[in-house]
Amino acid sequence: MTTRFKKEVLDTPAWWQDLDRYIDEQKNNNPGHVQSALIPVLHYVQDRYGYVPEKAVNHVAQSLGVPTVYIWGVASFYSYFSLTPKGLYTIRVCAGTACYVQGSQAVMNEFIRRLEIQPGQTTEDGLFTLEEARCLGACGQAPVVMVNDRVHAKVRPEQVPDIVAEYTALAHASAEAQA
């Protein structure tokens, strides 16, 4: 049986109260320019929820008094915002120029082969999301791969299995600890 890995989603009344508090704070910071609070609020949602879900969009639209369609327009314009749930670990293979000339494409191909998903997709078990990143600014360590907040330096295709194994083990360990 394949394990389903899910991020812990704090879908509780307290969570929504916190969101409201943050929205109010942002509204007060931007008197006369309520709309200006939108992108900070979307960041807040994504940071804590893992992605921007439909119910959050509806909620934010109500609170800010901005049409829902407008929020979808903004959220879908910016590639940083994800409108679908992501895996437990997001693997971002840098495709900046320095990484590209140092062979990041081969690293990406190896992840595609190993995980059997294309960039932008999430593995069946919900463990990994694969993404192509714009420059991560660690060009001196090219090619780099970022897994959640951790940056792996000078990655060669042959290291890909180890990276996948490392995080798979980590996920199983924490799943067991929870159970």
């Binding site: 709309q35 200006s36 940083y80 714009r134």
Partner: protein, 635 residues
């Protein structure tokens, strides 16, 4: 002495810096920045901490990245009365050893120090063109001047990076931080501040090189009570990390500059628009703003004067086009980041229609130094039209990857070979890509081009933000052009047709050429489409998107011809144009290639030379990888 300066002096006298200032007891500094963390700096820090085991006779601290990315993690040991020692490639094991042998045991380990690395630590052979001595610069480099890598640099923007703990405002105060702000508030009128910046000849480091003083003047002159200052830290160029490093290593220099700019133009509110992809920079900037507010260096009545200035951080959300100033402002306003036509320029109608001054991180980081040391000092550095220094992010196929700052006008050769150490693996230099997706590729005949705004433009590249990617002879220029266009095409916001459609059509042509179905007319199509986008696109993104294509087309026409006429990729990069064949004399007939071939296009009897059927070959390279005797050639 003005009351502002007096207030500041009181802050300085009460400061308790983590690492800056005179070395009174042994210090161990670990470079903690995104690049260093990637290389394992956290392990080094943890190991050092464990090895020190709570010894309070030694200070363990963090600094930003001094720029030697190729040999990170870095650890510096400083002891009273001794020259500092910079250790390189410090993993956990080395960190513990350095603490035990050098810090505690008084036995430095020369073989792990930067001096042992050829090209970084060899004795200085003289500084780069126009390098200047000064108190500020000297304070940074005096101990390291003997090192080639640093002696050729002039660090103004990066003056404090590596010398201060970026998370402690007291470090910045100890090295003269906020003195420029106090000077402005206490002794200079807003117009006098603007005059200094004008006289210094500072130009925008974001790429276009517009005179900063003039920009400030326009915003200052614009009518209206409400004005804004914005710092553009949306460093989106792939291959550029100058702004990240500055914000991670010395965030207060930018905060101070913004407060100065706000005073000069009459703004009370400001924003730093920074990439969400830079979590450490955001975190340190947040802390810097908070600490500056606590000390009365931001907020109401700064340093006891009437000047009020509130600074906020706004995170980008992964849209490259938001580096364009009008798109950036749209994003702060909570809209899709799309540019609008100029004029009106932001100086007259910017954020919410109010006069707004936008400067890039590096531009701002220069400001406090200029105010303190004067316009004459600053304008003596650099060339006639390009004053001061430029920070370059040196990456790609170069030995010493990292961050360097050189006087404007230093030649590409000095940057790539003297400081960068040349090309690794004994390969040949092919081109320097400068200016990112808006820039161009300069081949070897341009190595003596001075790096100033005008010379680079004349050579067919642009200064850009400072990303400098060195390419060796294994890089295919058509593929690189396709790489950049894929990027700009994907990042095009879609508002104007020349950019939205033009980049798409150009990309299709390049895809065709690299797939082996290019036509003779394609080159002309690329030139024509490029020219239209350059002239007719709405913003800088579209206007400069054709540059990587047009510059490679101009500098490397033979490579394009080979792809189109001969259906051959000279560097064997473009998969579809690569051919595999078996050298008969070398083949031992083991049959391994035959077994791994997914399309069964390899034939041959056991212990007899094998043959690859080129028509059926899918160019997967499996046989090439598998061959135990390297009998398979790829070209």
């Amino acid at each position: 002495m003005s009351s502002a300066t007096q207030t500041l002096e009181k802050l300085v006298s009460q400061a308790s810096p983590s690492v800056a200032g005179e070395v009174e007891k042994p210090q161990v500094l670990v470079g903690i920045a995104t690049c260093a963390l990637a290389a394992g700096a956290r392990d080094a820090m943890d190991a050092a901490k464990a090895a020190l085991n709570g010894n309070d006779g030694v200070t363990l601290g963090q600094v930003g990245c001094v720029g030697c990315c190729s040999v990170e993690p870095l650890m510096e040991v400083r002891k009273p009365g001794e020259p500092p020692r910079l250790y390189v490639n410090v993993d956990a094991g080395r960190a513990a050893e350095i603490i035990r042998r050098d810090v505690m045991g008084g036995q430095p380990i020369p073989e792990w120090q930067i001096e042992a690395i050829e090209g970084l630590g060899t004795p200085a052979k003289g500084a780069a063109t126009g390098a200047q001595d000064s108190e500020v610069i000297d304070r940074f480099t005096r101990d390291w001047r003997r090192l080639d890598y640093f002696s050729r640099q002039t660090r103004i923007c990066l003056r404090n990076v590596g010398r201060v703990d970026p998370e402690n405002i007291d470090d910045y105060l100890t090295v003269g931080g906020y003195a420029a702000l106090a000077k402005c508030l206490g002794e200079l009128s807003p117009q006098e501040v603007i005059d200094i910046i004008k006289a210094a000849g500072l130009r925008g480091r974001g790429g276009a090189g517009f005179p900063t003083g003039l920009k400030w003047q326009f915003t200052h002159n614009a009518p209206g009570e409400t004005k804004y200052v914005v710092c553009n830290a949306d460093e989106g160029d792939p291959g550029a990390f100058m702004d990240r490093s500055t914000l991670e290593g010395d965030p207060h220099s930018v905060v101070e500059a913004l407060a100065i700019c706000a005073y000069a133009i009459g703004a009370k509110r400001g924003f730093v628009y920074v990439r969400a992809e830079y979590p450490l920079a955001v975190q340190r900037l947040k802390l810097a703003i908070q600490q500056a507010e606590e000390r009365g260096l931001l907020g109401d009545n700064i340093l006891g004067t009437d000047h009020c200035f509130h600074l906020e951080i706004r995170l980008g959300a992964g849209a490259f086009v938001c580096g364009e100033e009008t798109a950036l402002m749209a994003s702060i306003e909570g809209k899709r980041g799309m540019p609008r036509p100029r004029p009106p320029f932001p100086a007259t109608s910017g954020l919410w229609g109010k006069p707004t001054n936008i400067n890039n991180v590096e531009t701002l980081a220069n400001v406090p130094a200029i105010i303190l040391l004067g316009a004459d000092w600053y304008s003596s550095i650099g060339t006639e039209k390009s004053k001061g220094t430029k920070v370059f992010a040196l990456a790609g196929n170069v030995v010493n990857t990292g961050l360097i700052e050189v006087p404007m006008g230093a030649t590409l050769r000095e940057v790539v070979f003297d400081i960068g150490g040349g090309i690794p693996g004994g390969r040949g230099f092919k081109a320097a890509q400068i200016g990112g997706p808006s820039g161009g590729c300069l081949p070897s005949q341009y190595l003596d081009t001075p790096t100033d705004y005008e010379s680079l433009q004349a050579a067919g590249a642009i200064m850009g933000s400072g990303g400098l990617i060195v390419m060796d002879d294994t890089v295919c220029m058509v593929d690189i052009a396709k790489f950049f266009l894929t990027f700009t095409q994907d990042e095009s916001c879609g508002k104007c047709t020349p950019c939205r459609e033009g980049t798409k059509r150009m990309l299709e042509v390049l895809q065709r050429i690299t797939a082996g179905s290019g036509e003779a007319l394609d080159l002309e199509r690329l030139r024509r489409l490029g020219a239209v986008a350059q002239r007719a696109a709405l913003c800088g993104l579209g206007q400069t998107a054709p540059n990587p294509v047009l510059s490679t087309l101009r500098q490397f026409p033979d490579e394009y011809e080979a792809h189109i006429q001969e259906k051959r990729c000279p560097t064997a990069v473009c998969e579809a144009l690569v051919h595999y064949f078996i050298v008969e004399d070398k083949c031992i007939g083991c049959g391994l290639c035959k077994r791994v071939c997914p399309v069964h296009c390899i034939s041959g009897e056991a212990r007899q030379p094998h043959v690859i059927g080129d028509d059926a070959c899918v160019r997967c390279g499996a046989c090439y990888e598998r061959c135990p005797v390297d009998a398979i050639v790829r070209q």
